[in-house]
């Protein structure tokens, strides 16, 4: 029919229902990879220019991310990237442990054989990701595997709540992985999920629970150790730069 009725050229607009989605996903990725630093203020106008859209879809995206607790809204004063709260870290891990154990138990009980195939695939992808230099790929692979475990458990409420925690975990995991890659410790990450698979395949609920718990504990311990020995002076909990303006 037509391709460009009157749109003022250079800005290629997204399709109708996708601007907000695009912005939301773009921001989420930047937040989860710490590309946007915790505590950093989010300026609606700036973001809208960045994505070439108006402020409306940006506001919608910020609202959604705020619901995901990836940004916190300050009334009348916009929003900031949610701080990575080290005080709250043990609380976070306690909540994650609970959901991870329960989700993995459910998976061991309710998984179908199709689930097993999918999990095997994702576990393989994870192992390949670990051997690649792409740390974001590791984050994604880890997230996808655990989410697939939850989905195999056939409880939407658990999947959703566990998924929220897994999203947030990506930020901690990112810190952890950067450390391991910098210190040649990436071997520690290999084959992390094979024992999950075994227990789920065997429908061994108690074993699945135990493995999930140990997995959480191991991550917590390693993350805290990485923090102690953090060799990367770039990382700061509070955003250090951006003093010039605003």
């Amino acid at each position: 029919m037509q391709d460009s009725p009157k749109t003022p050229s250079n800005v290629v607009k997204y399709r109708k229902g996708s601007s907000a989605k695009e912005v939301c996903e773009g921001l989420r990725r930047r937040i989860l990879t710490l590309d946007l630093r915790p505590g950093e203020p989010i300026d609606e106008t700036q973001i809208s220019e960045m994505f070439g859209v108006s402020r409306s879809p940006v506001r919608e995206a910020i609202n959604r991310l705020s619901a995901e607790r990836l940004v916190v809204a300050l009334p009348n004063r916009g929003a900031i990237v949610a701080p990575v709260d080290l005080i709250g870290f043990p609380q976070f891990m306690a909540a994650l442990d609970l959901q991870q154990r329960f989700a993995t138990r459910l998976a061991a009980r309710h998984r179908s054989s199709a689930d097993l195939v999918r999990l095997e695939m994702l576990a393989t992808e994870y192992n390949e990701a670990v051997r690649s230099p792409d740390s974001v790929r590791v984050l994604e692979a880890n997230h996808d595997f655990h989410l697939a475990v939850a989905e195999a458990g056939r409880n939407d409420y658990v999947t959703r709540q566990y998924g929220e925690l897994l999203s947030e975990a990506r930020r901690y995991l990112h810190i952890h992985i950067e450390y391991l890659m910098a210190t040649s410790g990436r071997g520690l990450l290999e084959d992390q999920h094979l024992d999950f698979l075994d227990a789920i395949r065997a429908r061994d609920v108690e074993e699945a629970d135990k493995i999930a718990h140990e997995h959480t504990l191991q991550f917590e311990e390693r993350f805290l150790r990485a923090l102690r020995h953090m060799p990367d002076p770039n990382f700061q909990i509070e955003a250090p730069e951006r003093t010039p303006d605003r």
Copy 2:
């Protein structure tokens, strides 16, 4: 479908940052009390006229409620009040049970004496609410008590996720309470929370866990029984009315 909640005169606007909040809370209450029926379509224009604001704050409110899973967004076709999914009810109860047990355990472990005072107050309010004819008051009192238990547990993540489930539970509880009030069975609701208080006061973690679990089971059983004997022909899972226009 009925009167507008506030806005006495036509131009009296809410204060700056409060339109969306007002709409959000108004809609939430109507949804949780089943005043807006599950599955009912939500028209932005209609809602905006109802609250006397423009569509912007209405959209924001709908987004937030969508994040709370109280409404479901349909791309390009607006939103509907989230259906009360009876198929998913056992799954919901499983998730609620998990969080309720964990939250109550945490409360027993970490509660301060100030928490005890607050919980006693809320338990009293609950008992008074049960003896009043106001079913919404019972819903609120029940919700507030359990949320306060979670807060006494000092884990923000658990409080948040448990709180989300408690919100959703209000819709089920509403069905349940209407049934009890109609069948003079409200005595069953009395003193529901005193045993929680005892266990939390005694810092008896295992007992708290057990009581929380029994509480969930009891609710599940009673709700299902109420469904079987539902004397109220008004309640339908699918919205029956509103055939004329959408």
